[in-house]
Symmetry: C2
Subunit: 340 residues, 2 copies
């Protein structure tokens, strides 16, 4: 019953007009304290809650943010969702989640679905929402013309689009360099995505080699195309590389699950980590704790990024001018799989 109360009921019980009730509801200054108290008392007594739809209609907002991500069950993306939702809720916003999968059409239709729900803004988690063919990114520009778009881990120039990212290029380059300087010569680079940040990591690896006068070798840059949970598949993949006579004494991976797969390869071949083979993962996820030795992994400060992203979002929503790009630097968390 408390649920069904309207502003009219409250106004009647309180002996005021609906406008006055609305005012106390919205914290308007123009209400006599006595009146305010009277109304508040009735509201509490009956547990009245304003109807969110009607309010949405009037204000054209239900304080709701759309969150787009390819796959909420991915370790990294799941964390991002968690942090972002939390920060949003602390700021009084709800989160509508939409998992798009990895296909382009599905991403586009998911975004327009969210737009038709009149979300106040959209957060896109992961660089795979930006396509290499720039025409394919029109769907973002279109959406950005009506609400702010926040990108996590992606870089995209467009007004009303705000990017929060980690300098994956530099982080990968620095870590690879350290590996080289510790005496490793043949570094296998394992990756699984050609997204923006995927390419950035790759070029970081390449740059490190070039800086140390080590020629790039195609056979040392291998792309695993399986599912992000198929650790066993990664193990076979690496075994296969080794069986093709390709030698490596160091591995840099663009994701922890690749690194763990490599770790299992090493164990099955009785290759000692880190003495005979050093391995570096990416994301500093729970996976980096489950191997023995534990995995050195690049942390890209996800929690900080998410907090900053929401801060920027709230800023733009409240009319402040906000920087369009915020860049964090990642850092290598050293554990037992490296020896420097």
């Amino acid at each position: 019953m408390s649920n069904q109360m309207t502003i009219y009921d409250i106004s009647k019980k309180a002996g005021v007009s609906i406008a006055t009730v609305s005012r106390v509801l919205n914290g308007s200054a123009n209400v006599k304290p006595r009146t305010r108290k009277k109304v508040m008392d009735i509201i509490e007594q009956y547990g009245y809650k304003p109807n969110a739809f009607a309010r949405g209609l009037g204000l054209n907002s239900m304080k709701t943010i759309g969150i787009l991500c390819a796959d909420a069950s991915d370790l990294y993306l799941a964390k991002a969702i968690y942090y972002i939702e939390q920060n949003l809720r602390e700021n009084g916003y709800h989160s509508v989640l939409c998992c798009t999968g990895y296909e382009m059409e599905s991403k586009k239709s998911s975004l327009s679905l969210l737009m038709s729900q009149h979300v106040d803004a959209v957060v896109m988690i992961g660089s795979n929402f930006i396509f290499n063919n720039n025409e394919d990114n029109e769907y973002i520009r279109t959406a950005a013309s009506s609400v702010p778009i926040m990108l996590l881990n992606a870089d995209f120039d467009c007004s009303n689009v705000y990017c929060t990212l980690c300098d994956d290029h530099k982080a990968t380059q620095d870590s690879t360099s350290k590996l080289i300087e510790s005496g490793v010569k043949d570094i296998l680079y394992l990756y699984n995505s050609n997204s923006y940040s995927g390419l950035k990591k790759l070029s970081g690896y390449q740059n490190a080699l070039l800086l140390h006068d080590i020629p790039l070798r195609k056979e040392l840059m291998q792309c695993f195309k399986g599912h992000h949970e198929d650790i066993d598949g990664v193990k076979f993949f690496v075994e296969n590389i080794a069986d093709n006579g390709i030698h490596f004494d160091g591995i840099v991976a663009s994701d922890d699950f690749l690194a763990i797969g490599a770790m299992n390869f090493a164990r099955s071949r009785h290759i000692k980590v880190p003495t005979q083979l050093q391995i570096i993962g990416y994301n500093n996820s729970i996976l980096s704790h489950c191997s023995e030795p534990e995995l050195s992994s690049i942390d890209n400060r996800l929690q900080d990024m998410c907090a900053q992203l929401v801060r920027t979002l709230i800023g733009t929503l409240t009319q402040n001018d906000m920087p369009q790009k915020t860049i964090f630097s990642g850092e290598l968390i050293k554990r037992g799989s490296t020896s420097f």
Copy 2:
């Protein structure tokens, strides 16, 4: 601009009334095909999208389901969210996600937050939303009086509350029994939660022992109180148990991360798995693939449960009578950490 169009604009351009536009929008049968086409053309031409708020106001629904879970970054919960959101979207529903954390007050306030958003139903993921003190569950009964509540992995008797769960008791009992029958005598049970399903698993373990005339020993039932990512903490925890002179040659864990921690304990102590120590995890998560040997783990059919949950939900929302309880049986996925 296409965004700002209203049903009035469309009706004018099409030379019909708003009612007719509304009818074609909602697929009413009572529209002459010619008229329908005329209206559709205008709608497409201008890219008109009905205002979700106004529609919500009229229908008292925005086709939105609230999803409550303690922590979206938990491996298991993240998967559940993923599956449920997907199934909901396929049925034309949006998902509002709310991560509550593990405190009671926060759970209660999160639920009322969702209710005030007028969600059409609420999905609660995880048995930790049911409290042992039954009075504390009043918040669910209250909510259930206005919308259907769907519980995943929890058991709660209340009208308009629907439960989809796995028989964790039986699954744990069966797996423990197999372990016993393979010759293991001292089985350590590792758990980390006293939630409904946590207790069910524990009693499954206990039952298996009793069935085999093995006395229960308190020191063999150990509750780890750390964070669900603290695999290292688990390792120390188990080391500590062993150092206290407690002998065990088998471990059943209520979650894979506990089992992996135990696995790392074994490696650090040079205890051979599975010859000297057999280990069984729970959830069949990605963690069960990252150890060497791989972890045997109980699969509780999350994907099936989520699909069924949504099916039931859609059923209740469309006025069909639906069963209040659906129970799946889990099964042990055998891998290298057991030898039967």
